[in-house]
Amino acid sequence: MTSTHILSVLVVNRPGVLTRVAGLFARRGYNIESLTVSPTNDPQVSRMTIGVDVDSPSTLEQIVKQLNKLIEVHKIIELEDSAVTRELVLVKVRSDLENRSKIVDTVGLFRGKAVDVSHESITIEATGGREKLEALIKMLESFGILEIVQSGRVAVNRGASALAAKSSRNGS
């Protein structure tokens, strides 16, 4: 039985860091379930949100310890189960004049919106947690899905506490 955990990792914003992190996962046989990388309010630092599938708590512990050994990794936290997580999905659905309003109504229930429309198709944008997006996609399947593209997760813990980088210089 595997379980998914979300790690928030602050890394130095330099070329090659993503390769190093992804390479570590590949080399040690860990599975990345989802990965997003983006800038933070500090231009020197990027934030990776990594979803990992693990079969035991000790595997997760190893992943965190091995990541911590990378010189470019500043800080790692495992997000709580209650963390706010979001993904963005773009779904292109087969659509004509007849069913277009039906689709828009359905999408409205999920607070999604149409971002592109043509005579044969409509493209929907929606954000939310994974379950909500899965439910939306299931609803749209009956109309005929042409294409789906989905982002990885971004996530943050609830409450005031924030993940900040360590002080940025060591003494020599």
């Binding site: 190093r20 570590l24 000790s58 310890k65 050994k69 010189i71 360590k166 002080s167 060591n170």
Partner: protein, 596 residues
């Protein structure tokens, strides 16, 4: 160069590389030039502080840097050009990574504008070496060179040591700019924990005070931390028996009555038995490698575990630790010894006597070879017996390595160099060369196999030309011995491609003479001592002694791969007699019978 401190010092990147090495106290670099590193080789020629040793193959440069590092405790440095020059360092970098050897490799890279174009001798050496270096850099601007080199040396030598690669684009070597030596590092993500936590020390102390059958499982981390003295003090205070892994054979003298020898696949019965029957395993700088533990779920089944290591990722990786201690081995051993000093320790004399009995009964030995043939174990033990006290021993990989571990005298720290984690054939000759340069006063004996020797013997030319008087014993059994042993035991004696025919070619004596060495061949038992003595006396040139030995000698004891350490064999089909008392205790505590 302007000496006025107010005026900025203008230098080329290449001059900065050399100036940085001088500032870092580097006295020797092993390398081989080529197009992309030529700018750096130019000022290197004028350096007064840095000696350059021109090797014959970059792999030799890498292993020589390792040998220098292990023998001296300092950072070993090697240098190569881009492309194949850099990729030839890969094996040595990997070897240093697995054995935690502090090493810095400097490689030339094509100019920054050519990177990504598949330019001549362009290789993404940074990408290639990412999984086998502690860290690596690609430098494309001269101004970044001093900081990168300072950080590289800092990373390589602190925490858990390891290899660091600095790849410098040719344009960065050629640019002229201001030389600024960094006052601090820019490494927010690198803060190794060196001081062990007091609570963990206390918990460890409590376990030691409760243990009836404790054992110290000492690994290469103790050697790297230079903690032999601290280990000796802890053993003095506690009287706990010690097993030393292959990487740590030199940190605790074998003639100490509490030394049980090497554990693991080819370990001594006393060392394996000590771990299997212990109620407390205190692991220091050891990583529960599969070659030590055998089948993990049956390893040290009755033992609680204190695991001390400077690398937190090692703790709990293979075996759960009851007390984890993250910290430098020297500080950890000191703190534990301080905590136990003056305390009333439990009486463990029955346990110690039991192990000492086992050590006596099952001391590693060998069967006599057929008449007229030499026993490799005897040869190695004679080299050890006749070697001066300050000798540094270096090995290749295979049967001779295991025999060298068992039968050489291990007395002093930094006197045992071997490729453990990687098992790199070809390590011996260049590593011995590096050790001899780092320790010119010491005698350096390399124990190599005929297979290993044929991989890197060209570095004997380097030794001959530079007056590096290493001594290499080729234990020539004509075959790839360790593989053949496994074929003998597990592949129905089908010796698929393990016969090297080293009795025909090469002629090791002629070859070694051609490489600039004094060379001898020994085929008779009565020639052994006299030849070793002659080799010991030669100090102006490298010496090679080929010992033609018995082909079918085996390494015993042995635990088959994937088997439990309880199934150790002292010879084919022969298990040691653990003694009734030990057997009863084992069954009682484990709650299950053992298979026979």
């Amino acid at each position: 160069m302007a000496d006025n401190p107010r005026q900025p010092k203008l230098m080329t990147g290449a001059q900065m590389v050399v100036a940085s090495l001088e500032k870092l106290g580097v006295d020797v670099v092993f390398g081989l030039p080529g197009g992309a590193i030529m700018p750096t080789y130019d000022p290197l020629m004028d350096s007064e502080g840095v000696r350059h040793i021109l090797v014959r193959h970059e792999q030799g440069a890498g292993h020589a840097a390792e040998g220098y590092a292990v023998a001296t405790g300092r950072v070993g440095v090697c240098m190569a050009t881009s492309g194949p020059g850099a990729t030839n360092l890969v094996t040595a970098l990997y070897d240093a990574y697995l054995d935690s050897v502090p090493m810095v490799a400097i490689t030339g890279q094509v100019g920054a504008s050519l990177i990504g174009t598949d330019g001549f001798q362009e290789a993404d050496i940074r990408g290639i070496t990412m999984p086998i270096t502690k860290h690596n850099f690609l430098i494309t601007r001269a101004a970044d060179i001093p900081l990168a080199l300072a950080e590289a040396f800092h990373i390589a030598s602190t925490g858990r040591p390891g290899p660091v690669l600095v790849d410098i684009a040719k344009n960065a070597q050629q640019e002229t700019t201001e030389f600024r030596w960094p006052k601090q590092y820019d490494l927010p993500g690198y803060k190794p924990t060196l001081r062990p936590h007091s609570r963990q020390i206390k918990e460890a102390t409590t376990l030691i005070l409760e243990a009836e059958r404790p054992v110290l499982y000492v690994g290469g981390g103790v050697a790297k931390a230079g903690a032999a003295g601290e280990l000796a003090r802890l053993v003095d205070i506690t009287g706990i028996p010690v097993v030393t892994t292959l990487m740590a054979r030199d940190v605790f003298p074998d003639d100490n009555p509490l030394a049980m020898g090497m554990p693991g696949m080819h370990g001594s019965v006393a060392a394996v038995g000590a771990l299997q029957r212990a109620d407390l395993v205190f692991a220091v700088g050891a990583r529960f490698d599969d070659r030590v533990t055998g089948r993990l779920d049956t390893f040290a089944p009755m033992a609680k575990v204190i695991h001390a290591d400077v690398d937190p990722a090692e703790i709990g990786k293979n075996r759960v630790a009851d007390v984890p201690i993250v910290g430098d081995a020297r500080l950890t051993l000191t703190r534990i010894a301080d905590a136990l000093e003056g305390k009333k320790l439990p009486d463990i004399s029955v346990w110690v006597e039991q192990l000492q009995e086992m050590r006596k009964t099952y001391a590693p030995g060998w069967e006599e070879p057929p008449a007229g043939e030499l026993s490799p174990q005897y040869v190695i033990s004679r080299i050890g017996a006749l070697a001066p006290d300050d000798t540094v021993f270096v090995t290749g990989v295979g049967q001779h390595q295991m025999w060298a571990s068992h039968f050489l005298p291990h007395r002093h720290p930094r006197s045992w160099l071997t490729s453990g984690g990687a098992g790199t054939m070809g390590y011996c000759v260049p590593a011995a060369m590096g050790a001899q340069i780092g320790r010119p006063e010491a005698t350096v004996w390399g124990i190599d196999g005929d297979g290993c020797f044929q991989m890197t013997n060209q570095e004997l030319v380097t030794c001959a030309l530079n007056g590096i008087p290493i001594k290499i014993a080729i234990i020539n059994n004509n075959v790839l011995g360790m593989v053949r042993q496994w074929q003998n035991l597990f592949f129905d004696k089908r010796y698929s491609h393990t016969d090297l025919h080293s009795d025909q070619y090469p002629d090791f004596v002629k070859l070694s003479e051609a490489l600039g060495c004094v060379a001898f061949r020994v085929t008779q038992a009565d020639e052994i001592d006299a030849t070793i003595r002659r080799a010991n006396e030669i100090n102006d040139r490298p010496v090679v002694v080929e010992f033609v030995v018995h082909k079918d000698a085996m390494v015993w004891p042995m635990v088959a791969a994937g088997a439990s350490n309880d199934d150790i064999q002292i010879a084919r089909g022969m298990a040691p007699d653990w003694g009734e008392q030990a057997e009863d205790e084992a069954v009682g505590a484990a709650g299950s019978g053992e298979e026979d």
